[in-house]
Symmetry: C2
Subunit: 231 residues, 2 copies
DNA sequence: CATGCCCGAATTGTATACATTTTCGCTCGA
DNA sequence: TCGAGCGAAAATGTATACAATTCGGGCATG
């Protein structure tokens, strides 16, 4: 990732994390000046970071009225996961044909990290969720890299990758997380075997299972979306 | 589309058009100051426009080294069309289930405009290409709107929609353009009939046919990509 | 003559000042 | 009491000034 000069990049990462982890809630206004003071920056880099986040769809902004954290409805979540399932399925299919040793190694490392995060004894549960989320990102990132399709990779990393994944892991119980781990391994094996069909189908299913869990939680609690963030 | 205040938006549109139509060639540096003078703006809106274009993938930029028009290899073009075919196929599938009367009307209007652009007698061939490109955009945009999937729409409109489509129409002969027109109508009928399967397959094929024509031209002339732009 | 270093011009990154627009409370009048 | 209109405060949009970085050319040196 093109690390711009430190300030813009730091603004970007901090704002992003705050949104993804739910500290900035959906609908909340993001005032440039205020955020700048919070991170001790001028408005310029904050502004640029907000524009980046807008391009990624995490933030919505209107002409002279500034940026707000984007709100997502249940239907949109459902649609979004459908889309992710297709795109990542396609990525897995390509990876089965194109992956190289470096990306395979990264994939295995991600899987190992996931297992480690799952097993270790954590003081702070939020830290565990972060570790699992990071490892998960690494696994999916490795598949994307293996697909060797620049544009697809950027779409998935920077546009479809919403806060939802992180929030989803909060909702996952242990069994569900272990099931994710299993799917990661199956996907790895299919890719290693060069079987694009199976890799694609497994990835599709893997994402859709995540969708089901998340939606079930949301519907069961009759929650508005931002209910998710109130934990 | 969120029209920001005039200057940024105008910088964005002018730079974009210059890239899409090939006046700014792949690999060319885009110096903020110079462009600002060209359009009589300060660097600020130019800078913002460039960042937007970077997010869309039309421009590539590195940390302290500025922006250049992105270069695209033959393989990437092929991959890109594959991706577009899948995404637009999916959009057509959704549209068959979700489209409403307003979008259908827009679709028909786009098809009519395409036919008109194809038939009229043009002084300037470039104007005809522009008219055809606009009508084509309208048709595909209507399908996207009918899919009622915000994120998908934005991906296709703002991220995968590269200069290639415009360049492709330059390469099309009359028969190929008429074939596109035919497919537009078939897709419309399938959507109207609510047949997602067929709509999806037709759209997939439609995009892939465009890919084939473009790639055939490129390979036949043993061209580098920017050969396209030298006309 | 080749090579490496240093300096300066060009360009990007960041901060700040100014202009324009929006927001929101308040007064005034029906 | 309620609503329209006004105006000040706040926030965004744009311009400009300043800092840091990159890149290339010239000069010294081996």
């Amino acid at each position: 990732m093109a690390t711009r000069r430190a300030t813009t990049q730091s603004a970007y990462q901090q704002i992003r994390r705050a949104i993804v982890e739910g500290r900035y809630r959906p609908g909340q206004r993001l005032v440039e000046q205020r955020i700048g003071e919070e991170f001790d920056l001028s408005r310029t880099p904050v502004r640029e970071a907000l524009r980046q986040l807008e391009a990624e769809g995490l933030v919505h902004s209107e002409p002279n009225r500034g940026a707000v954290v984007r709100e997502v409805s249940l239907d949109e979540i459902s649609d979004l996961y459908d889309l992710r399932a297709r795109l990542e399925g396609y990525a897995a299919e390509l990876a089965a044909q194109r992956i190289g040793p470096a990306e395979l190694e990264r994939l295995d490392a991600g899987i190992a990290a996931f297992e480690h995060a799952l097993g270790a004894d954590w003081d702070d549960e939020l830290d565990q969720v972060r570790a699992i989320d990071d490892a998960n990102r690494e696994v999916h990132g490795a598949v994307l890299a293996g697909a060797r399709h620049d544009r697809l990779g950027r779409l998935l990393e920077r546009t479809v990758d919403v806060p939802l994944v992180f929030q989803a892991f909060r909702q996952f119980d242990r069994a569900q997380t272990e099931r994710s781990h299993l799917f990661h391994q199956l996907i790895r094996d299919a890719i290693l075997a060069g079987d694009g069909q199976r890799a694609s189908a497994l990835m599709f299913e893997h994402v859709m299972l995540g969708r089901d869990v998340l939606l079930a939680h949301l519907e069961a609690s009759e929650a508005q979306v931002d209910e998710l963030f109130s934990t």
